[in-house]
């Protein structure tokens, strides 16, 4: 398993010189395949190294279980299985939920927290960016932004209880400063003549906001949402330390306490992949919503 892959870049048949745009597309596809092969071989190398280190028993499986064990933990966490080897009692996944249910639970909290942050953060940013309220409120926004969310989770639990409400509040408070700040900086970045132009077309104050300021700020706002979502991810995992089942962060924490290292690693991998996919999704949303980014 240690052999490296000599990524066989598929040779393309020489094309007729007339096929210009097709050549271009083929060139791009070839480039993408090369990149994919590079990533695949890097990953394979890392996995092999991991496997090798554990197979040679250089470290105790308690600290670093072999890849196979992690895979088994991942499968176990997603299926009904006996509670212990040889037992008749069948349990569902881990802690009564499948791993993907834990993941969904965390994603739901993020969706609600970030969703609320979008609903509140964008209008607030618009108002702060266009009126004197910005000067008044900016220090408080900065204050909130600089607090690590874990510093006030205790307070939120006292206020809203140990259940989901305090977790969602935490995510909201973590996600909304970056969105509001991004909106403000978007508003401040609007070219004055873009505002002048629409006012010369007869736009009211309100129309200036909806027809120009808001759309012109969308690229910044979307970046803010991406930052906020990333931040919410790291926060949700931490928030689930207390009473976080179902929840992928809660599961990872619990598994760690029970020395189920393989399950912890399985959770970590899932968290990482989910975060990357989420960000990729937002990035492609950006391409759809602001195709002019960097062009105008």
């Amino acid at each position: 398993m240690t052999q490296t892959v000599a990524a066989p870049a598929p040779e393309v048949a020489p094309s007729t010189p007339a096929a210009g745009p097709q050549d271009h597309r083929r060139e791009r596809r070839r480039h993408r395949l090369k990149l994919l092969a590079l990533h695949a071989s890097t990953l394979l190398l890392l996995l092999s190294a991991w496997w090798f280190v554990t197979a040679m028993e250089w470290v105790s499986p308690l600290y670093l279980p072999p890849p196979g064990d992690v895979w088994d933990a991942f499968v176990r966490a997603n299926t009904d299985h006996p509670v212990a080897a040889g037992s008749d009692r069948i349990v569902r996944g881990e802690q009564g939920y499948y791993l993907w249910e834990h993941l969904i639970a965390s994603l739901q909290r993020i969706a609600i927290g970030v969703g609320a942050a979008i609903v509140v953060g964008i209008p607030l940013g618009l108002v702060m960016g266009t009126t004197w309220l910005g000067v008044v409120l900016e220090p408080y926004l900065n204050f909130l932004r600089s607090l690590p969310p874990l510093a006030y989770i205790g307070l939120l639990i006292v206020w809203f209880g140990i259940g989901d409400t305090s977790k969602v509040w935490l995510l909201f408070l973590a996600a909304f400063p970056p969105i509001a700040m991004a909106t403000i900086s978007g508003v401040h970045g609007v070219r004055q003549d873009q505002v002048n132009a629409v006012r010369s077309l007869g736009a009211s104050r309100r129309q200036v906001l909806t027809a120009v300021v808001l759309p012109a700020s969308t690229p910044d706002i979307l970046t803010g949402i991406r930052v906020a979502t990333g931040f919410a991810w790291t926060t949700v995992v931490a928030a689930e330390i207390a009473n976080g089942i179902p929840g992928i962060g809660g599961l990872a924490y619990l598994a760690g306490n029970q020395l189920q290292t393989a399950l912890v690693i399985a959770c970590i991998v899932v968290i990482g992949i989910a975060a990357i996919l989420l960000d990729l999704g937002l990035k492609s949303l950006e391409k759809v919503l602001v195709p002019w980014r960097g062009k105008a």
Binding site: D193, N196, A197, L201, S204
Partner: protein, 264 residues
């Protein structure tokens, strides 16, 4: 609302200076200028003499340091739909298609979708962008963007059209076509037009009145009527350009631009 024919433009004792690093930089000296409704005023002058500043004061984008700018007897307090502005740099909205950019003014004023589509089509056709209506502005060349901007302003049917070197970035052919379209529109609608240009020929050819500004701080040093055909009779462009009066006025304008101390 004031009647169109009351929309006289008046600059009274207007001075303007910019503050750059704490120091006052004078841009306009003493501008006293009246533009009657329906005039096509062209304004020429060396670059940096304050032409854009004068236009922006009238557009309402800023307030004069001294003096008053009034339209129809009311002091200008800000931009307004009766004063359309064609910017020196195309100022289009990249989140809207070419057509939606042109429709924007009528849309903001609540014109029905059907009517504004019709208006937009007319002006898109006029500036030769009908085939590009679905494109986004950043997919157009600079000259096409400028034409789109002109269509957007005209589609809003302002009484006063302020144009800041609108044809500067266009190729000669397009420029000539748009020049005659603009003259056509002016004759047909009786709009007031203030048109800034650095081309002497363009100033004399287009304007019913030509102004020349001195180098910074700008003052108006030449003010001449420039009508070369008596009302209604359409004289072909090359015939106008061959007229001795036309050539003489071009020389006078050129002389005024190059002689900073010229007297009006």
């Amino acid at each position: 609302m004031t009647d169109r024919h009351d929309r006289r433009v008046e600059f009274r004792g207007v001075r303007h200076h910019f503050t750059v690093g704490g120091a006052a930089v004078p841009a306009l000296d003493r501008i006293d200028l009246t533009i009657e409704p329906g005039e096509f005023v062209t304004l020429a002058g060396p670059s940096g003499c304050g032409k854009t500043t004068l236009l922006r004061l009238l557009a309402g984008f800023m307030t004069a340091s001294e003096g008053t700018v009034a339209v129809g007897g009311d002091a200008v307090r800000g931009p307004g739909e009766e004063r359309g502005v064609v910017f020196q740099q195309p100022t289009l909205y990249p989140w809207l298609s070419v057509r939606r950019n042109v429709e924007l003014g009528p849309k903001l004023r609540g014109v029905s979708a059907h009517d504004r589509a019709e208006t937009a089509s007319r002006y898109l056709e006029m500036v030769g962008l009908a085939d590009f209506e679905k494109h986004r502005p950043y997919e157009l060349s600079g000259g096409m963007q400028q034409r789109c901007q002109i269509a957007r302003v005209l589609a809003n049917e302002p009484d006063i059209v302020l144009m800041d070197e609108p044809f500067g970035a266009l190729d000669a052919l397009t420029r000539e076509r748009l020049q005659s379209e603009l003259l056509e529109i002016w004759r047909a609608t009786g709009r007031t037009i203030l048109f800034i240009t650095h081309s002497v020929d363009e100033a004399v050819f287009l304007g019913s009145r030509v102004l020349v500004m001195s180098p910074r701080p700008g003052r108006i040093v030449l003010d001449r009527p420039a009508v070369f055909s008596d009302g209604g009779v359409r004289v072909p462009a090359d015939e106008i350009r061959a007229l001795p009066e036309y050539v003489a006025l071009c020389d006078e304008v050129r002389g005024a631009i190059h002689a900073p101390t010229a007297v009006a």
